[in-house]
């Protein structure tokens, strides 16, 4: 007969895991197809072999042991929780340090806007060359900047 069903469909048909329309169609086909009837017979046989084989391995358990729980088994998770808290704290600390350093760097790279900030500003030579100008800062013996000049070409 044409359009024979495959094993998977027949397997699902046997387990009734198809919709009602499909089940009716397969039933009609099976009534007229000896080949599919044989395949279904083989499937049922394989299922029977599998189930009986697995049931044959059932253990011989005479008595259910009493459920016992020790304190160590209960506290095991608490230790894990402390570990988790520590790792969270460490990661937060690292985040704070990193963000502080980044903020400082951003502030440091900003150009001066008033006289006071001139002394704080450390000029970037690349920037100076790009703008075709050179900035000079003089320092006294104590290392304090006393003069800051920008020479433009």
């Amino acid at each position: 007969m044409k359009n024979c069903l495959n094993k998977e469909i027949l397997f699902n048909y046997y387990h009734k895991s198809l919709d009602s329309k499909q089940i009716i169609e397969i039933k009609e086909h099976l009534d007229n197809c000896e080949s599919c009837q044989h395949t279904l017979y083989l499937i049922i046989n394989e299922i029977s072999i599998t189930k009986s084989s697995l049931n044959y391995l059932n253990p011989d358990l005479k008595k259910i042991p009493e459920f016992r729980i020790s304190k160590n088994q209960l506290y095991k998770k608490k230790k894990l929780e402390y570990g988790q808290i520590l790792s969270w704290a460490a990661s937060i600390c690292l985040l704070i340090i990193f963000s502080t350093l980044t903020t400082k760097k951003i502030i440091h790279n900003q150009k001066p806007v008033n006289d006071y900030e001139y002394f704080e500003y450390v000029p970037d030579m690349n920037d100076a060359f790009n703008n075709q100008s050179i900035s000079i800062t003089e320092y006294n013996s104590n290392g304090i900047p006393i003069n800051h000049e920008i020479i433009r070409n």
Partner: protein
């Protein structure tokens, strides 16, 4: 809470033990894993509440524990643990030999399958629905039927083949 846990423990211990035993073939390993599973359930019940589908929850836990145990240690050696069958009390020697032989054929056939395939077969044997199997093994619902049909065919063929080979060997010996 404690009473309900005891009821669950007594109701499902044998089922879970049987399920694990058919995967490990070791009494000691099975007892350890089952103890671990019920400990997880105890903690779960103490922390939150009883799972909706306790049976499925226990089998899912069993599946995870078995897979983890297999990852940590070497894969369970079926044949090396076969000696434990000797301890089972059987009336006559002939019956004992026959039983051991049959078990050997089945376990040999099972050993040629992957852990997941063995678990799938055992879940099917425990009368779980396709939906429950897909949830426990975390596979697609649509692929359960396909995989099951393939795995059942594989096991049945393997058992038939091994039995046939054994029979031929016996004939040659005689």
């Amino acid at each position: 809470m404690k009473i309900s846990f005891n009821i669950i423990y007594n109701q499902y211990y044998k089922q879970i033990y049987g399920f694990i035993y058919k995967l490990t073939f070791s009494k000691k390993d099975s007892e350890d894993i089952v103890q671990d599973i019920f400990l997880s359930l105890y903690k779960e019940m103490k922390k939150r509440k009883t799972p909706d589908n306790i049976r499925a929850w226990l089998y899912k836990c069993a599946f995870n524990k078995f897979i983890n145990t297999n990852k940590k240690s070497k894969p369970m050696q079926l044949i090396s643990n076969m000696g434990e069958f000797d301890n089972i009390s059987i009336n006559s020697i002939e019956t004992e030999i026959f039983r051991d032989e049959k078990r050997r054929i089945i376990t040999n056939a099972l050993s040629k399958m992957s852990s997941k395939e063995q678990i799938l077969l055992n879940l099917y044997n425990e009368e779980f629905s396709y939906k429950e199997i897909s949830e426990i093994l975390e596979i697609k619902f649509t692929s359960v039927g396909k995989t099951l049909s393939r795995v059942i065919e594989k096991l049945a063929t393997q058992i038939k083949l091994t039995s046939h080979e054994e029979l031929l060997e016996q004939r040659n010996i005689i």
